[in-house]
């Protein structure tokens, strides 16, 4: 099966070539491992950027939401997410990382903060900077399931071709 042969750890260089933050950079991982890590999380939060509402990607968001993962819709993804009937909360990404940083924040459901963030569908450089806030000032796990290698995440895919990206996301969801 072609999908299984897909190696998501290749080409793991920052998508903005000079975006090399320091000694600690994301580990490039396979799709099934990303799925397993997400499914193990106690309090995961899927953070969807504007491109998370693109065709194809949005179906993955829907399936993850159906698995019970709460969805934070950033940028203007909320519009399409709502149209697709996905239960999501709009929040500005910059504000969200400041809430995540705050041990007193009770989360969107009032039950407490999150232990794992999953990033999908963001403007690359924007998400990269805000992952840097989480990386440097919180203990929260950062899993990027975006198309491009994100050095500030803990786990990320390498840079993927669009078709491979959608296949990868399917493989992630299959593990949930």
């Amino acid at each position: 099966m072609a999908a299984i042969e897909l190696d998501t750890t290749k080409n793991a260089v920052p998508f903005d070539r000079a975006n090399i933050p320091g000694p600690k950079m994301a580990k490039a991982i396979k799709a099934d491992l990303a799925g397993k890590l997400i499914s193990k999380a106690r309090r995961p939060l899927l953070i969807v950027g504007t491109a998370g509402a693109d065709d194809g990607v949005i179906l993955v968001v829907k399936r993850m939401a159906e698995k019970g993962i709460p969805v934070a819709a950033t940028g203007n993804s909320i519009k399409r997410l709502k149209e697709e009937g996905i239960d999501a909360t709009y929040v500005n990404l910059h504000a969200l990382v400041s809430y995540l940083k705050d041990p007193g924040w009770k989360g969107f459901d009032g039950k407490g903060g999150y232990d794992t963030t999953i990033f999908l569908g963001h403007t690359y450089y924007y998400a990269s900077q805000l992952m840097s806030t989480l990386k440097n000032f919180t203990k929260i796990k950062i899993i990027s399931i975006d198309r491009h290698y994100h050095p500030n995440a803990q786990q990320s895919f390498g840079n993927l071709k669009p078709d491979d990206f959608l296949k990868t996301l399917d493989m992630v969801v299959a593990e949930l």
Partner: protein, 792 residues
């Protein structure tokens, strides 16, 4: 008789000249002097800490290491400490302060250069004239406690700024400040100084150089690469400091050369050129710099300072375009020809013996630049200089692309250059045409391509059709908002019936092209917000047209009135935007402003619905302008490149104890709704930023009508762009009168059903639920000494 500043000669004593400078006190001291005239770093620290307590700094390091001293490099990942003891948080705050200081230094050094130049030309006693204003220099008065009357009165103002910059810079040295909060207070101090430096710069040039003085109907000028007549010799001026360029314009005017030469400007110099002489044209903002040089059209380039690309001389030399440098800040290694004859310099440049010249004698620059352009144009034409590939070469280049994607990874915008190459090789230019506006013209891609394709040239060649159509109109920089305008509009602004002032300022580092900035401005104008603009984005706003071919400057008037569009001018004119809020406090609310920053900032934070948007902020100056606004209580929103400034100031609406203010009538503490919610934040897209701008215009002092209007726009913009009623709309409701009229019943039902509020349905009144009720005489303040109880 008081001795005035200046020079005088004592009779019979030849060659003796006595200079009277700072013996005479500078400016008129206004009485009474406020609590913090010319504040030192610590004088406004309490105010800063109040802001920082509510709007907590959030850091997003670009680099997780500190590479500052030879103990290092130190790995600070995870907020670890470095070898000197500084932790990641303090290091990031220091970085933000340093970036801000760089911006402050750029603006105030510009001011110093200009002031020295103008004093030489016009004398220190030359009077300040900014138009119909008694309050001529609001920032100077608020910060320094003096009322300047002449340009020489600004000398001690610049002395103060320069001293403070030194003090602040010293704290960045290893082994000094260790607290992130104190670094932030210092960054805020730098931001405030920046606005002061900008005010000096613009007031002196407005006064001396005949620029528009609070002129709401300032003339329209042409903008855009397509508006430049390249059949004439083209003289291009780039930068921010118009000092040398005025001499060029005078020469061109005096010698009737405006018909024979195309005099064009790029970046803020362009704004100031058109303010000086409306025959000048604007090529465009920073993002057009490399593109326009590469077009090969300019015959001579004159540079001054700031936002001039470091590669101008290299790029220009390749195309035999001589470069004249006129300012200490940029000398490019060129020989200083200030003492040489103009004809000799022209000879060396025309022959190509020298790629350019450094000239500090502006009378010589004035003659040399246009004469050189007239000489260079036919020579360059004869040499057949064209930078862009011809059709055949273009085909070859696009077909040689191997689709490796290296350029995409190198591009700060992540543009799909590879796809556009493939399409162009197949004869379809549309992808490149779309990419052209999103491309910030940085030239990074060229360095990445393993095939050596000059990618930016390919983009520009492919986009010739759209470039020809790049013609717009900009209303030239009008300068300050006049006192009469404040008197007329102040009440609407303070009561909230004008929903807000949106200041769209800064650089062209947009996430998705310049059309967004035009659409943001248009949306807010249609909703009767006052839109104030300046700098590069004021240019881009004028680049787009409606179906009838009209730009926003042609469709909307330029008075400080709801639904108007004001271009204040170049970057230094940003000072007039912050100063407008001070004018409202002083003229409308009769607050004492002299040396009284804290009280004025407190007034602005609590009462004036003004928000800054630096959607394409790229430079250090943009950061410091934003930080200065923040210290004055004005929230600022950045585009998605903004977090690269490493720091934001964000509020947490759920932390109720952070949202307390006092009522100045009796000192009692009130818990308020979270307004304004943030001081410095970023957003990802145009659709996200529009409702955010509306929301950040809420103020605790809004009356019911004002809050209703503001809430209506917030809800409508959220529904239009985010497809939903905002999740937090109810937080801003204090009574039924705050609810949008058309939706009142529907929203009352929601308050009852979803928020558990108690409603009296007979009277359609809110009985229980809101954080607080409206009280029209509520006087919100965060400064204890302003409370009556405290002053007893």
């Amino acid at each position: 008789m008081a001795i005035k500043k200046g020079r005088f000669t004592i009779e019979n004593l030849e060659n003796v000249q006595i200079n009277i400078g700072s013996i005479v006190s500078s400016g008129e001291a206004e009485t009474p002097e406020g609590p913090t005239p010319a504040p030192e770093i610590h004088d406004l620290r309490d105010w800063d800490m109040k802001l920082l307590d509510r709007y907590e700094p959030v850091y997003s390091p670009v680099c997780d290491m500190c590479c500052y001293c030879t103990y290092g490099k130190c790995d600070l990942t995870g907020n670890k400490e470095g070898a000197c003891g500084i932790d990641m948080e303090a290091h990031q705050a220091r970085e933000a302060m340093l970036k801000g200081l760089t911006g402050t230094a750029a603006h105030s050094a510009h001011g110093r250069h200009l002031l020295n130049n103008l004093i030489k030309r016009f004398g220190a006693d030359y009077p300040i004239d900014v138009g119909p204003s008694n309050l001529k220099a609001p920032l100077t008065q608020t910060i320094m406690g003096i009322k300047p009357e002449t340009i020489g009165d600004f000398i001690p103002v610049l002395d103060y700024i320069e001293e403070q910059i030194t003090q602040l810079l010293a704290t960045a040295h290893t082994g000094q400040e260790g607290s992130s909060r104190d670094f932030e207070s210092k960054a805020l101090h730098a931001g405030m100084l920046d606005h002061l430096g900008m005010e000096v710069s613009d007031i002196i040039q407005i006064s001396c150089l005949g620029m528009p003085k609070s002129q709401e109907d300032a003339p329209l000028v042409d903008i855009g690469m397509g508006s430049i007549d390249s059949s004439k010799p083209v003289l291009l001026c780039i930068g921010h400091n118009v000092a040398a360029v005025t001499y060029i314009m005078d020469y061109v005017e005096e010698h009737d050369l405006f018909d024979k030469i195309e005099l064009a400007g790029l970046c803020c110099t362009a704004h100031d050129m058109t303010r000086y002489n409306k025959n000048a044209k604007i090529v465009g903002p920073m993002s057009k710099q490399l593109k326009y040089i590469r077009s090969g059209i300019p015959d001579v380039i004159v540079v001054d300072e700031q936002c001039v690309r470091a590669d101008v001389l290299r790029e220009a030399s390749k195309l035999h375009i001589p470069v004249i440098a006129t300012n200490d800040k940029i000398m490019y290694g060129l020989p200083n020809r200030s003492k040489d004859e103009v004809d000799a310099i022209i000879q060396d440049l025309v022959s190509g013996d020298q790629p350019g010249a450094l000239l500090f004698d502006y009378a010589k620059v004035g003659k040399l630049a246009p004469e050189l352009a007239l000489k260079m144009a036919p020579i360059r034409k004869e040499m057949g200089i064209t930078a862009l590939p011809d059709d055949e070469e273009f085909k070859k280049l696009t077909s040689s692309c191997s689709q490796c994607g290296a350029c995409v990874i190198g591009c700060p915008q992540g543009l799909d250059i590879d796809k556009a190459m493939e399409a162009a090789a197949g004869g379809d230019l549309t992808l490149f045409e779309e990419l052209h506006d999103r491309c910030i013209g940085c030239g990074r891609c060229d360095f990445e391509c393993p095939k050596g394709i000059p990618i930016l040239n390919v983009i520009e060649k492919a986009s010739q059709r759209v470039i020809r159509e790049e013609k717009g109109k900009v209303r030239i920089g009008r300068g300050q908002v006049g006192d009469p305008e404040i008197r007329e509009e102040g009440v609407n602004l303070v009561l909230g019936t004008t929903p807000g002032v949106i200041a769209i300022v800064g650089c062209p580092n947009y996430p998705d092209g310049s059309r967004d900035i035009y659409e943001i401005a248009e949306e807010m104008l249609k909703r009767s917000y006052i839109v104030v603009t300046s700098g590069c984005c004021a240019m881009d706003i004028g680049m787009h047209k409606d179906d009838e071919g009209k730009t926003l400057y042609e469709r909307y008037a330029g008075r400080f009135l709801k639904g108007n569009l004001l271009n204040t001018g170049s970057c230094v004119s940003n000072a007039h935007i912050s100063a407008t809020t001070i004018k409202v406090a002083s003229i409308f609310a009769r607050r004492e402003i002299n040396g009284n920053w804290e009280e004025i900032a407190d007034y602005v934070l609590n009462r004036i619905g003004a928000v800054g948007l630096a959607w394409g902020a790229y430079s250090q100056k943009a950061l410091t302008i934003g930080t200065g606004c923040n210290r004055l209580g004005i929230p600022v929103v950045l585009g998605p490149h903004g977090p690269k400034y490493r720091r934001a100031y964000l509020g947490k609406p759920y932390n109720r104890d952070k949202w307390n203010v006092m009522d100045a009538r009796d000192g009692s503490v009130q818990n308020i709704e979270p307004v304004p919610e943030h001081l410095l934040i970023s957003a990802e897209t145009k659709a996200e930023v529009l409702p955010m701008l509306a929301k950040l215009c809420f103020r605790p002092s809004d009356n019911n009508l004002g809050r209703m209007i503001k809430l209506t726009h917030y809800i409508e913009l959220s529904e239009k762009y985010l497809g939903q009623l905002p999740d937090d709309w109810y937080i801003y409701v204090r009574s039924e009168a705050d609810l949008p009229l058309a939706k009142r019943e529907e929203l009352l039902k929601k308050l009852e059903a979803e928020q558990g509020w108690k409603i009296d349905w007979n009277k359609k009144k809110v009985l229980e639920g809101p954080v607080r009720k409206v009280d029209v005489s509520f006087q919100p303040t965060n400064v204890p000494r302003l409370c009556k109880e405290a002053s007893k």
